[in-house]
């Protein structure tokens, strides 16, 4: 059976992709952020996962407002990055794992989560930036199963549903008849707000509470409503629901191995966490 080695949370904002493209990692602005990643690289090197389940939100590349799936799972042979309109140069494609994707789809739908199935989906910075951060360079050492969450058009899915879907994904992986080693990536966040007069809102204290809760008490986050999260983490800080989904997939004993937090990266509080899952 496939196993889940652990989970990683990471920011996915486009400015990070631009900084990587311009090789600014050691500039004073970026260094405190990028210097958080080597311990995660070491862990990935040591454990060599075969697959990453990459939980992110599309920002208006694959999905437009004509049809907005609440939860969608990619089931493509590979995933292509495309122009998003503001100058980030597209990077080479990423290999998928359609067998595992279809197993996840069948399993979570059987569990009562009526996800949208995507045999073709282009992927934006929400998918690409975490990959570039965790596996720097153009290597593609893992196959990807993308899980996309609507954070664009309200109503967004309830946080407790995101945690529950994460648990269903964890169950699905553990019933997959293969020997794949899987890492689950919860991307986005942390607190930030891009729109309105409150743009620039960052809540360090709430971010710290979420980082603690994601380890030992994910229900504490899940018991917030979406509007509670908007209020406390900012309009786009709701992306923490992707962290919740990641955490839900870790069904064993969870140990925090590493964390880093830095303000500001663009308009956000940027949080990195590495959680090990032991069955």
């Amino acid at each position: 059976m496939a196993t889940i080695l652990g989970g990683i949370t990471t920011s996915h904002i486009p400015a990070i992709g631009a900084a990587i493209a311009k090789e600014l990692e050691q500039e004073p602005y970026w260094q405190p952020f990028f210097d958080g990643y080597p311990p995660v690289h070491d862990w990935l090197d040591e454990h060599q996962p075969d697959v990453a389940i990459l939980i992110y939100n599309d920002h208006g590349l694959n999905f437009f407002l004509d049809a907005v799936p609440t939860f969608s799972i990619g089931a493509a042979e590979e995933y292509h990055n495309e122009d998003e309109g503001w100058g980030l140069r597209p990077v080479p494609p990423f290999p998928g794992h359609p067998d595992l994707s279809w197993h996840l789809i069948e399993s979570v739908i059987d569990d009562g989560f009526d996800v949208t199935m995507c045999q073709d989906m282009v992927v934006d910075h929400g998918f690409v930036v975490p990959h570039l951060l965790l596996w720097p360079g153009n290597d593609r050492p893992v196959k990807i199963v993308p899980v996309c969450v609507n954070t664009v058009l309200h109503p967004l899915p309830r946080p407790d549903r995101c945690l529950a879907l994460g648990r269903a994904i964890g169950k699905a992986v553990e019933s997959f008849p293969g020997d794949e080693k899987v890492v689950v990536l919860g991307t986005g966040g942390m607190s930030h707000q891009l729109d309105g007069e409150r743009a620039g809102f960052i809540n360090r204290e709430f971010d710290a509470l979420c980082m603690d809760a994601i380890v030992d008490d994910p229900e504490w986050i899940a018991n917030h409503s979406i509007l509670d999260l908007v209020e406390k983490a900012g309009a786009q800080g709701v992306e923490v629901i992707q962290w919740l989904m990641m955490r839900g997939a870790l069904l064993g004993t969870v140990t925090e191995l590493h964390r880093n937090y830095h303000i500001p990266i663009s308009n956000t509080g940027a949080g990195l966490m590495l959680l090990e899952n032991t069955r």
């Binding site: 208006g60 590349l61 407002l65 891009l194 309105g196 743009a199 620039g200 809540n203 509007l227 500001p264």
Partner: protein, 118 residues
């Protein structure tokens, strides 16, 4: 308590892009979505006014686009994710967008971000 549009509490300075907003802003967001393509960006640059007309924007909305009045565009139903494609081709980053909405300079906006370190 459900956060439905009819019962939702207001969070000051915080727009919620929901069904009502999306109905108002569909033409605007459709235009902004087109900016994913370089050919569309070039066409917009060549004649912004004509490009707005092509997507059915009225004079008031076209003026807000040409003026990059982000708050007015949000009020008209623009989603920040799509408006970012417009502000991106104008060469603005998210600090510029934030400063503009708050009516402060970019330097003041950046100071607000750094102040969140506590």
């Amino acid at each position: 308590m459900a956060d439905t549009a009819s019962s939702r509490r207001e969070i000051p300075g915080t727009p919620i892009f929901d069904g009502a907003a999306s109905r108002r802003g569909l033409a605007l967001n459709t235009m902004c979505y087109s900016f994913n393509k370089e050919s569309s960006r070039n066409e917009f640059h060549a004649d912004p006014d004509a490009y707005c007309k092509k997507y059915g924007l009225d004079n008031e909305l076209t003026a807000a686009v040409l003026d990059a009045d982000v708050l007015a565009l949000i009020e008209a139903g623009g989603s920040i994710y799509y408006l970012a494609k417009l502000t991106g081709i104008l060469g603005w980053d998210m600090q510029d967008v934030g400063a503009r909405q708050s009516g402060i300079t970019r330097e003041e906006f950046e100071a607000r971000l750094y102040a969140a370190r506590g």
